[in-house]
C-alpha cells in the first residue's frame, strides 16, 4: 500500500488525471471512466424521470385533472416516467456504474475482459437514450412502459415505434455489460481470488448479468414484433388480424419479471458490502447469501405469469405461477435474515452508507412481503392494476434499489473521486429520503386496497386525502434526492482528500489508492483470505485506543 505518498501526489497519478481532454473521456476504454460516463448519464435520466414523477404527483393532489392540461399529456407523462426510470436509470444504475467501476478492481483485474465492448455499450446506451428523449420532445408516447397490445400496436396515435426502438437499442447495452461482467468474473480473477472468496457484490453483478444476457433478447424480440404489427400490420397480437394479445403479455413479462430482479439483485450486492464493513463483522452465511442470489436469478425466469392472474390466462397457469412466486420468499428471506444476523455482536458505526443500507433492509422487507400478498391469487384479483401494485414495486425499486444505489455511491465515493463528502449532510439526506419515501408510498398501499386504479388522470373524491399525503411525501423525497446531488458535486472541489481506505474496509478495491491508478493496482494483488475478514473485537480495541490517544494528546479547545 502506498502509505507514504501524499494525497496530492496520488491524485496526480490516478485514472482521473490520465488525460483531461474530452477525447480522453469519450474514447476511453478504462472501465472506471466508463463507469463515470454512465454515472453522469443515468443521473441526468434520473432527474428527467424524477421531474415527470413530481409533475404526476402534483397533478394527483386533486381529483380533477387540472395541473396537466389534458388526459393525453398525463398519459404521456407517466409513460415517460416509467420508460426512463426502468431502462435508463434502474437497469443500468448499479451494474453499469458501480459494477463497471468495481468488479475489475474487486477481483484484482486491470480492466474488464472486453474494454472496447464496454465503451461500445455506453454509446449504445446513449443512442437509445437520445432516441427516447427525442421521442419525448417530439410528442411522447402514451402506452405506459408495458406497451400492452393491441393498444400500442393498433390504437395509439403517439410515437410508439421510436420509443420501442429506443428500448430495443438500449437492451443491447445491457447485454454487452452483462456479457463483459460474466467473462471478466470467469477469466480475470487475480491469484487467490477463488469463487468462494468473491465479494457478494461481485456475485450479485454476476447473477444480474446472467439475467441481462438471457432475458434481454426476449425484450428485443417482443418490441420488434410489436413494431412489425404496427408498421406492416402483421397479425401477431391483434385478434382482428388473427393474433393473440395475451401472447404479448407472456413475452413482455418473460423479460420484465427477470428485469425486476435486474433492478434489485445489484442492490443486494451493495448492501452486503456495506453492512459487514460498518458492523465490523464477516457477512453471516456467505455461501447461503451467494446461493440465494443465484436462486432468485433462476426463479425470476419462471414467475412471469403472476402479472397475468386476471388477464384471461388459464386458472391452472395461475396456480403454478403463484406457488413459484411464493418460493421467491425463501432466498429473499435468507438475505434479510443474514444481514440482520451480521449485526449480532458487531461493532456498529452509523456512517451515511450504513444508514442507507439499514433503510434498504426495512423497505425491502416491506416490498418483498407485499409481493407475497400480491402472489396470493385471490388478493391479486382485487389489487392488480391498483395503487397497491404501484406501492409494492416502488418499495422494491425506489426503497430498495435507489437506496442501495445511493448507499453504494456514498460508500465508494472516496474511491471513485478521491474526495470525502460532508458526513453531516449525508446523514441528514439519508433520513430525509427514508422519511419522504415512506410518506409517499405507504399511503398508496391503502389507496390500492381501497380500489384506486393506477394510470388515471382523474379519480373520485373519496381517495383524495391519501393522495395529498403521497404528494407531500414526494416533495420531501425530491429534496432528499437533490441534496446528495448538490453536496456530492461540491465535494469534488471542497471535499477532503480521501485516503486509500477511509472506512478501514476489506476488499481489494480498498487496497489501492483513492482514486485508483489507471491499471487499478501497482502490482497484481494476491488474495490469501476469505472476504469480509473483519473482527469486531479488534475494532473495539482499536476504537478504545484511538479514544485514549485523543484524551492523552494535549488539546486546544475541543467542541
Amino acid at each position: 500500500m502506498s502509505v507514504a505518498i501524499a494525497p496530492e501526489e496520488r491524485m496526480a497519478r490516478s485514472y482521473l488525471t490520465d488525460g483531461y481532454n474530452l477525447k480522453s473521456w469519450l474514447l476511453t476504454t478504462d472501465h472506471k471512466r466508463i463507469g463515470l460516463l454512465y454515472m453522469v448519464s443515468i443521473t441526468l435520466f434520473f432527474f428527467v424521470g424524477g421531474a415527470a414523477a413530481t409533475i404526476l404527483r402534483l397533478e394527483l393532489m386533486t381529483p380533477k385533472g387540472d395541473l396537466i392540461e389534458t388526459a393525453d399529456a398525463y398519459n404521456r407523462m407517466f409513460t415517460l416516467h416509467g420508460v426512463v426510470m426502468v431502462w435508463f436509470f434502474l437497469i443500468p444504475s448499479i451494474p453499469a456504474v458501480l459494477g463497471n467501476f468495481l468488479v475489475p478492481v474487486m477481483i484484482g483485474a486491470r480492466d474488464m475482459a472486453f474494454p472496447k465492448l464496454n465503451l461500445l455499450s455506453w454509446y449504445i446506451f446513449m443512442a437509445g437514450g437520445i432516441i427516447v428523449l427525442a421521442t419525448l420532445i417530439a410528442g411522447g408516447v402514451d402506452t405506459g412502459w408495458t406497451f400492452y397490445v393491441p393498444f400500442s400496436s393498433m390504437f395509439s396515435n403517439t410515437f410508439v415505434v421510436p420509443a420501442a426502438a429506443g428500448v430495443f437499442i438500449v437492451g443491447f447495452s445491457s447485454i454487452l455489460t452483462g456479457l463483459n461482467i460474466i467473462v471478466t468474473t470467469h477469466t480475470m480473477r487475480c491469484p487467490g481470488m477463488t469463487w468462494d472468496r468473491l465479494p457478494l457484490f461481485v456475485w450479485a453483478q454476476y447473477a444480474t448479468s446472467l439475467i441481462m444476457v438471457l432475458a434481454t433478447p426476449v425484450l428485443a424480440i417482443t418490441v420488434a414484433l410489436l413494431a412489425a404489427e404496427r408498421i406492416w400490420g402483421v397479425g401477431i397480437f391483434d385478434p382482428r388480424l388473427g393474433g393473440d394479445p395475451i401472447l404479448f403479455q407472456h413475452l413482455f413479462w418473460f423479460y420484465s419479471h427477470p428485469a425486476v430482479y435486474i433492478m434489485i439483485l445489484p442492490g443486494f450486492g451493495v448492501v452486503s458490502e456495506i453492512i459487514p464493513c460498518f458492523a465490523r463483522r464477516p457477512i453471516f452465511g456467505y455461501k447461503f447469501m451467494a446461493g440465494a442470489l443465484l436462486a432468485i436469478a433462476f426463479l425470476g425466469f419462471i414467475v412471469w405469469g403472476h402479472h397475468m392472474f386476471v388477464s384471461g390466462q388459464s386458472m391452472y397457469a395461475g396456480f403454478v405461477f403463484s406457488i413459484i412466486s411464493f418460493l421467491v420468499a425463501i432466498p429473499s428471506g435468507i438475505k434479510v435474515f443474514n444481514w440482520t444476523a451480521t449485526l449480532y455482536k458487531g461493532s456498529i458505526r452509523f456512517d451515511t452508507p450504513m444508514l442507507y443500507a439499514l433503510g434498504f433492509i426495512g423497505l425491502f422487507t416491506i416490498g418483498g412481503l407485499t409481493g407475497l400478498i400480491l402472489a396470493s391469487l385471490a388478493v391479486d384479483v382485487h389489487v392488480h392494476d391498483t395503487y397497491f401494485v404501484v406501492a409494492h414495486f416502488h418499495y422494491i425499486m425506489v426503497g430498495g434499489m435507489v437506496m442501495a444505489y445511493l448507499g453504494g455511491i456514498h460508500f465508494w465515493w472516496p474511491k471513485l473521486t478521491g474526495r470525502m463528502y460532508s458526513e453531516w449532510w449525508g446523514k441528514l439526506s439519508a433520513l430525509i429520503v427514508f422519511f419522504g419515501f415512506n410518506l409517499t408510498f405507504f399511503p398508496q398501499f391503502v389507496l390500492g386496497y381501497l380500489g384506486m386504479p393506477r394510470r388515471v388522470y382523474e379519480y373520485t373524491e373519496d381517495y383524495q386525502i391519501l393522495h395529498i399525503m403521497s404528494t407531500l411525501g414526494a416533495s420531501i423525497l425530491a429534496v432528499g434526492y437533490l441534496l446528495p446531488l448538490s453536496y456530492l458535486i461540491l465535494s469534488l472541489w471542497f471535499g477532503k482528500h480521501a485516503t486509500g481506505n477511509p472506512w478501514s474496509a476489506t476488499g481489494l478495491e480498498w487496497q489501492t489508492t483513492s482514486p485508483p491508478p489507471t491499471h487499478n493496482f501497482e502490482e497484481t494483488p494476491v488474495v490469501t483470505e476469505a472476504p469480509y475478514a473483519y473482527d469486531p473485537v479488534v475494532a473495539e480495541a482499536e476504537y478504545r485506543a484511538s479514544l485514549a490517544e485523543i484524551e492523552e494528546r494535549p488539546r486546544v479547545n475541543h467542541t
Binding site: P150, A279, G312, I323, F326, L369, I373, S376, A378
Partner: protein, 319 residues
C-alpha cells in the same frame, strides 16, 4: 363487519374471503417486519461501537439457523398459496344457474345488456343475493372490469370472451372502474354498480322501453343478416341447421389438419364461427360461411345472436 376507515366496503359473498387472505398476509407482513425491526434495533443499540457488550465468538455461519429461516417461510408460503388458491378457484367457478349479463367494453365505456333486453352504459343494476355472471368482450383494446367492493376484477379482451361472477350481499352503490389502461380517457371509464332489493330490481327491469329479450332481438338480427338464407329451411348453400347446436359437441376440421375433432359449441365457438369462419369448419360442409367483422356485426349484436342460437337449442332439446 363494521365499516372500518381506510378499508373498502364488502358487498359480495366473495369479499370477506379475499379480505381474510389479505389480512392474514398483512399479519405475516407485520409480524416479520416487526421481528426484523426489533432484532435490528436491539443489535444496533447493544453492539454500536463503544458499548461494553460481549463480542467474542460471534458465529459466521450456522446450517441450523439457515435451515430454520428457510423452513419457516416455506411452510408459511405453501399455506398462504393453498388458501388463496382455493378462494381464487371459487372466483373462477361460477354457479351453473348464475344470471347472465353481457358486457361489451370499448374506448371508453362499458355497455351492458341484460337477458331481458334492458341495456345500460357505465351502470350495472343487479339484484341482491343472486349470483350473477358477466360475459365480457372488448370491441377494441384490453379493458378490465373492476368492482372494488366485490373484490372482483377481470380483463376484458378483444376477440375473446372472459367472464366474472359475484353474488352481491349489500344494497348500495359501488364504484365500477376500468382497471387496465386503455388510452386517453381510461381514467373516466368508470361508473357505478347498484345493488337493489330483488323487487326493486324487477321493477327497474320492467321500466322504460325494451325491444324484447336478447334472444328475441337476436332472432331479428338473424333475419336481418340473412343467416337463415343458408341456415334456414330454404337453403341457398348447404349449411348446418343451428337448432340444438349450442352446448352440444360438433365435429370440425381445421385448416391444414385432415382429422375431425369434436369440440363443444360454446360462446367462443359460435363467436369464432361468425368472426373467423375459416378457423373451424363443420365436418361435411364447405367453408362457405361468410366472415362478419365488427363493422357489419357489433360484439353486442353477436352476443344477441348467441342468445338466440342458445334459445333455439333449448327449444330443440325440450321437444
Amino acid at each position: 363487519m363494521a365499516h372500518l376507515p381506510f378499508f373498502p366496503e364488502q358487498a359480495s359473498s366473495h369479499a370477506k374471503d379475499v379480505d381474510a387472505v389479505f389480512l392474514a398476509g398483512m399479519g405475516i407482513l407485520a409480524f416479520f417486519t416487526a421481528l426484523i425491526l426489533i432484532l435490528i434495533v436491539t443489535f444496533l443499540v447493544r453492539y454500536r461501537r463503544g458499548t461494553t457488550a460481549e463480542r467474542d465468538n460471534a458465529p459466521n455461519t450456522s446450517l441450523r439457523i439457515e435451515l430454520l429461516w428457510i423452513g419457516i417461510p416455506l411452510i408459511i408460503s405453501i399455506g398462504m398459496f393453498a388458501w388463496s388458491a382455493v378462494v381464487y378457484y371459487r372466483l373462477y367457478s361460477p354457479p351453473a344457474d348464475a344470471y347472465l349479463v353481457d358486457v361489451v367494453a370499448k374506448q371508453w365505456m362499458f355497455y351492458l345488456q341484460h337477458p331481458e333486453g334492458k341495456r345500460e352504459i357505465n351502470e350495472l343494476h343487479v339484484p341482491l343475493g343472486r349470483p350473477l355472471r358477466l360475459r365480457m368482450i372488448s370491441q377494441d383494446v384490453i379493458h378490465s372490469f373492476y368492482v372494488p367492493a366485490f373484490r372482483a376484477k377481470q380483463d376484458v379482451l378483444p376477440g375473446r370472451y372472459t367472464s366474472l361472477w359475484f353474488q352481491p350481499t349489500r344494497v348500495g352503490q359501488y364504484h365500477l372502474f376500468c382497471a387496465e389502461y386503455c388510452g386517453t380517457n381510461h381514467a373516466v371509464m368508470r361508473g357505478t354498480v347498484e345493488v337493489m332489493e330483488p323487487a326493486d330490481y324487477e321493477r327497474w327491469l320492467g321500466s322504460g322501453s325494451s325491444e324484447g329479450s336478447l334472444a328475441r332481438q337476436g332472432e331479428q338480427l338473424f333475419q336481418k343478416h340473412h343467416c337463415g338464407g343458408c341456415h334456414g329451411p330454404s337453403q341457398n348453400v348447404p349449411a348446418p341447421p343451428l337448432q340444438g347446436v349450442y352446448g352440444g359437441r360438433v365435429p370440425v376440421t381445421r385448416e391444414g389438419d385432415p382429422s375431425t375433432n369434436f369440440i363443444t359449441a360454446d360462446d367462443r365457438y359460435i363467436h369464432d364461427s361468425v368472426r373467423l369462419p375459416k378457423k373451424e369448419i363443420v365436418a361435411g360442409f364447405e367453408p362457405m360461411m361468410p366472415t362478419y367483422d365488427q363493422t357489419e356485426l357489433s360484439e353486442a349484436d353477436l352476443l344477441k345472436l348467441i342468445a338466440y342460437i342458445k334459445s333455439i337449442g333449448a327449444e330443440e332439446t325440450s321437444k
